[in-house]
Structures are given as C-alpha cells and as structure tokens.
Symmetry: C2
Subunit: 435 residues, 2 copies
C-alpha cells in the first residue's frame, strides 16, 4: 500500500524525540538522583512518584515476588504451539531481553528511525511512551505443559520437571473454566499503572507469535491508603498475616525453592499458584456486619483479629470466651489459613482484585439468584517454596470448611515453576535448558 501513498515528511525528528524520551526512561534512576541532588529536601514527594519508580530486572531472584506490591497487574498464560526446543529457548531469550528493557522504562526493542521505520510494524505498540517505568516487574513461569503435553515430551524436558510442580488436585467447590485455567508459560507484569502492566504482556505475547499463543490474560488492581494494608473488594484488609518479605530467613523457608535433586535449576525460584476467585459482591454486601467478621475472623474496620484491638495484634486461636467457645470461629478464614492450622506452612500472597464488568450469573448458593452480576473478585496469587506443603493443604482445608465459600467461587486456576532470576547476557530458564 505504501507505494500509492502521498509522500510524507521524514519523521527522523519525531523519532529522535521519541528515542530521547525512551532513553530518559531507561535512566530514570539516575535522573531521579540528579533531581534529588539539585532540589535537596524541598521535593520529598518527587521520590514517591509512582511513575518514576524503577525495579531491577536481573538478579538472584526474579522481580515481582518479594517486590513491594505495585498498584496494578496483568497476568497471562500462553500455550506453546511449537514442537521445537530451540524455538522455546529463542522465545525465552527474546522475552528476557525485552523484559530487561521494559522494566527499565524502555520500549520492547529500539524504535527504528527515519524512512526505515515506516514500511514495517513498529517493535513496540507505543502506547506507554513517556510514562516512565512505573515500578514495572515482569515474572516468568513454566507450567506443567512445558515438560509434558498430552503425554508427549515435546522439548526433552520431561525428566527435569520438578516434583514440586504438581498438577493441582480438584478442590471442593471448584468450578474451573477451561479457558481461564492452566497454561504452559506464565507472565506476571506488575506496575504502578494499568496500561504499563498490560503493555508489557502485550509486547511479550507478540514476540511469541508462531511459538506460543495466549491462553488467558487478566488485569488486576490493588487500592489502598498510602502505607496501609489495602482492602480487597470484600472491604477487609488483605495480606496482614503474610510472612514478612523483609526477613530473608522467612523467605528462604517459605518462598524460595531450594536446589532439590530433581530440579537444581529451580534454586532461587519459587512456585506460583494463580486462582481466579469470583466473589458474589451483591450477596456479600447484604450480609450482616457481624457475620462478615465471623467469616474472616477479623474486625472489618480495624483489621484486628476478633477480640483484639489492632490490625497487627497476634491471632490467638486458643482464646475462648466465658462459655468456652473459640473467639475466632472454627470455620473462619483467618483460623483455617493460619500457619498454626497448617503444620506451620506459610505462603506469600500477592493478590490483586479484578473487575471485568458484569455478566449473567447463576449463583450456586442460596438464594440461587440468576441475574446480571459483577464479574469481579480476586486474582489470588501465592508464591511458595513447595505447593505440596503450601497452597495445596491450606486450600484443601479452606475449600472444605471456610465460611467464605458461601461468597466465593474458584473459576480459574494455574500453577507454575518460576525459575530464579537471570544474569545479564543469559536468559530466564537457562538453568533448565543448559545445565
């Protein structure tokens, strides 16, 4: 089509400007320091500008696991369509390079300049130009299908599948939708801007054309007063009892995978479970406040365990009232998910709310409403050193007994082995393919 078009001015100038903006984005860390030096203490808020935040990409661990949680996410799973091992490696190399650029505020690849740019598709959709890194992290994971697909060892990796990368069992109440479940490859982009998070997955997914295809994608968000535990859509603070990411021993125990005999390449990685949990918000909103609190085992407004005053007061599961009844109900969410109820197991939850508008819904719990309802809830994301001692037993107990199940339905599910971080020059998953 280009031949028949009227001549157009060169856009070298525009592209130069674009390139400069990208370059500035890529070195925002330095820019921030300069700004700080020049202005001293007169602009303390400039440091907190969420658009300017920048997270490292390369390192011992991948970002987005113990990184302080950003305000938005886009998570996605892809299915591999190639039969060739080298295609998978090439994709992981391309993803690593692009992710390293994107997290630092760059485009997925350098934008061509001048006439050379015109007659081909740009290597980046350009929709977040000028937005800054926004604290973007990109986390990659491997689903069971990378190792074995319908009984077939497509890439010579079957023997290297970690025992901890189990197929999740069916849990009580699961109503999983196939199109929102599973996946061979996982991308989790988290950023302080919704479009920046999606932009990352969009560019990476595009790099996979011909090698892997989107299975599902999901946008998520997290709102909260600054410096406080955010409330989820049920109105309760979510994440209070997480193991502290500031304590490396806890992270080594509960989050980071060790070098097991069957999967030494996973050392410094983690196992990630993603669940799409729809919440019947209409039903919840018409539920008595005290029943909501019994369901959670916490007070709604303060976030304190029932019977306590403050959010971070310890959860005392042994406390009884004067009649000898437990103060925190037997089937409350806090009790059932507490480490004391799970042989000391802990998982690092890093969940987001989701909101996909409305659709027609048939509720499985009384009053069996059939009407247009919110398609909203929680993208539950949990990282752990081993799901066999983490998510699986914890969720098995919750699925059976949690009072919250009256209001929640698990409609999507996936599990991934998230390998350690990459070194510059190498790529995510190199240990799996090359050692």
């Amino acid at each position: 089509m280009a031949n028949d078009q009227p001549p157009r001015p060169k856009r070298r100038g525009f592209l130069k400007a674009g390139g400069a903006a990208v370059a500035a984005g890529a070195s925002l860390g330095a820019g921030l320091a300069t700004s700080q030096n020049a202005l001293g203490k007169t602009q303390p808020h400039a440091l907190a500008d969420p658009q300017l935040a920048v997270e490292p990409f390369y390192g011992t661990h991948q970002g987005g696991i113990v990184t302080p949680q950003q305000s938005h996410t886009y998570v996605a799973a892809l299915d591999l369509t190639t039969e060739k091992r080298e295609d998978v490696i090439a994709l992981l190399r391309a993803w690593t390079d692009a992710a390293a650029r994107l997290t630092q505020g760059g485009t997925a690849a350098p934008l061509p300049t001048g006439d050379a740019a015109d007659n081909k598709a740009a290597p980046d959709s350009g929709d977040v130009l000028g937005l800054g890194p926004c604290g973007l992290t990109i986390t990659f994971g491997f689903g069971p299908g990378l190792f074995t697909h319908e009984g077939k060892d497509r890439y010579g990796l079957a023997a290297r599948r970690p025992a901890a990368l189990v197929d999740l069992p069916r849990f009580n109440g699961d109503q999983l939708i196939k199109e929102k479940t599973g996946g061979d490859l996982y991308i989790q982009a988290c950023a302080n801007d919704q479009q920046v998070a999606f932009h990352a997955v969009r560019q990476l997914s595009r790099l996979a054309y011909g090698t892997a295809a989107m299975r599902w994608g999901q946008s998520g968000f997290l709102s909260g007063p600054r410096g406080q535990t955010p409330r989820n859509l049920m109105g309760f603070k979510d994440g209070t009892n997480n193991p502290s990411t500031a304590k490396p021993p806890l992270m080594n125990q509960f989050v980071w995978a060790g070098a097991s005999a069957d999967a030494p390449w996973m050392e410094g990685g983690t196992y990630t479970v993603v669940r799409r949990i729809r919440i019947t918000l209409e039903h919840w909103d018409n539920t008595e406040l005290d029943f909501q609190e019994q369901v959670f085992g916490r007070h709604k407004y303060s976030g304190a365990p029932i019977g306590k005053q403050n959010e971070f007061d310890a959860v005392d599961l042994k406390e009884e009232d004067k009649d000898g009844n437990p103060v925190i109900p037997e089937n409350s969410h806090v009790r059932l998910s507490n480490q004391a109820s799970n042989n000391g197991a802990q998982i690092l939850r890093r969940s987001y709310s989701y909101n996909d508008g409305t659709n027609f819904y048939i509720e499985r719990w009384p009053p069996w409403r059939q009407e247009t309802e919110y398609d909203a809830g929680l993208i539950f994301i949990a990282h752990q050193s081993d799901p066999r001692s983490g998510f699986i037993p914890i969720n098995d107990r919750l699925a059976k007994f949690d009072m919250m199940n009256q209001f929640t339905t698990h409609v999507g599910s996936a599990i991934f082995a998230v390998p350690p971080g990459a070194k510059p020059g190498s790529y995510i998953g190199a240990g799996l393919f090359e050692t």
Copy 2:
C-alpha cells in the same frame, strides 16, 4: 445466627476512628488548605496528590462532563423493574444523597456504631475506607426506557421525552451485544482510583435493589504522562482535537443542552453516547507504522497532524502534496471526524480504555482469525448538546468510510439524557418529575 455467637467486644472505638476518617475525607479541601498554609511552598507535590482531589457534587451542571478527566471510570446502566413513578423518584433522591456524600470522600450513608451496627448489613461495603475522595465524580443519565418501555408509559413521562434523546440508528458495521447495550438509567463514576470508581457504582446499584437492576457495568482507565494528552491502546494520543472545556461559549454551543420547548428540564444538561469499541490489538500491532498513521491522519509519536510538526498544530484538510493528493487521507479518522467534515459539529469526547482480559474471538476482517484475543479497546464516551447534530452524523460517516474500522468493532451502545446538576436539598432529575 447472631444469638448463637460468642460475645464480641464493642467496636465503638473502631467505628469512631472510621467516622473520623470519613469526616476528614469530607473536609479534605480545608485540610489541604491548612497543609498548604503550614508548609508553604515546600511541598508543591502534596497539592497534586490524586487521592486528595475533591470535586463538587451540587451545581449548575453535573460533574464528570467538563471535569478534567480522572484516571479511572466505572460506567453502568440499569433497567428499571418497578412500575411506580414514586419508586423512581425515591431512587433518584437516594442516589443524589449518596452521590453527594461519596464524591466528598464519605461513605454512601453514615456507618452505624456500636452493637446496633452488628446485626445488619452495613450501608457501605467499606472497601475504600481511608482512600480519600480521589476526585470522584458521579454522573446520572436517563435512557429512552425511562420514558417509554415496550410501548408503555410506565411513569407518565412519555410526553416529556426530549426529541434529542433519539434511539440511535444502526450504524454500518455495528455488532452490538444486547447485554452491553442500552439501559434505562446511567451511572458514570470517574475517579483517580479504580476501586473508588467501582465502589461508587456498587453502593448506588445496591440502593436500587427492587427498583432497578444492573444491565451492564464496565471498568475503564486512562494512562498518560502528567500534563500530556494520554495515548489510547492504539498508541496514538486521544482527545487532542476536543473542544476546550476552558471555553464556556464552546461548551454552551456543543456540550450543554438548552431549554428546548419539549424538554426545558434539560437546560444545563447534556446528551451522552457510550460505545464499547473492541480493538483487534494483535492485528493493529502487526500493521506498518505508516499505515497506522494514514489511518489516524496523525503522526504516532508526536501526535501532529500528518505533515505538521507539533501535536496542537491545526489540522489542515485542504493541504495537498505536489501531486495534488490530500496530505491527510480522505478516509483517515482525523479528517472524517473533524468539524470541517461535519457541518461544524463537535462533541466532547471523554473516553477510557477498557481491558477485560481475553476471550475467544472471531475477527470479521481478514485474516479472519479465530483465536483467544484481548477483549480490550475503548469505552467511547461523548457528551453533546444534541446527538442529532453530534454523534449520529459524525459516526455515520466514520462507520462508512473510516480506515480504522478494519481494527475496531462497536459491540456496545447506549444513549442517555444527562440532566443538569442538582441543588442541595433537591435531587438529580427533579426538573423532569416536578415541573
């Protein structure tokens, strides 16, 4: 169930704290001024904290029309299920009161305190406690079904339907989904936080139980570098050529409805068209840069009209190249939507991107792909004094000729009469029911 529960401590203390937080939210304007006085010019960024922004609710016009665009929206339409005129009035009164509170940072209704609060559902879901007003605006509108529903005049309003509130014609290429189209009542909540926007609609929708039911709801967002025109998901700046909201004569001409003989109650209101426009982002991303620019009629990176240097350079539709061909293509979006192509008509676009994850999609344009694709695009929102001279002729031309149609599909549509703002003590739409 409450009788069998173990005794619980009173939460008056917690609720007092909650109430104080709400009160602080309601007077953030004052708080901000104090902060400004106390700190002088040392904290210029504190003024720009998007959580602290507060917009007035009562006034000549409703908010959310010429209000500088917030970063998020949740728009919804409800269908009236009552047959009683007084139910509709009661709902509008309740909505007005709740919206006045919510926009100022309050809860939908005061939270009860002490034991009285426990045994009933709280009047607010509580999920944005402490978040501040976040610049929330709430805009209400009336769809054709309020006036006539399946030929029936349910509320004695048929004779008061404005001629300008037409049923939208079918446009070329429309592929409207019934469940995302139409509606008797419209709520548009815009805020600097995704959860705050949704929270508003959620409380208002709950107030409608028994009177109206959700027909569709949709979350939207807008990302952009500070102080610059945001880019939509196609990567182009969107909204450059909007009529300036800073120019009241332009707003009076193109946005605000006058006191027509058939609908004097609409004076100071506007007519709002909402279209859900799905964009085949995968297809667009693989399209040559110069073709993308021909489609828009603008340069992608600078936002300038083709042949110009800067974003805000005037669009010169008469300019020709040396061969006599138009520099801005005949079927480009900018030319077809320009007021010079539309008898001088202008509309105030205030659109948001949407991103509902992925679903299986059959594309109607080559290459007729059938695969899992992004369910993402634009929630097009346009305000105008009369859609018969605004959206309808403009979109009729676009639907027939716009090159962009290769990449976009209109899948949802609605039109509403948005009445003027309310006076304190009155309610939105009072002029329709009471004069």
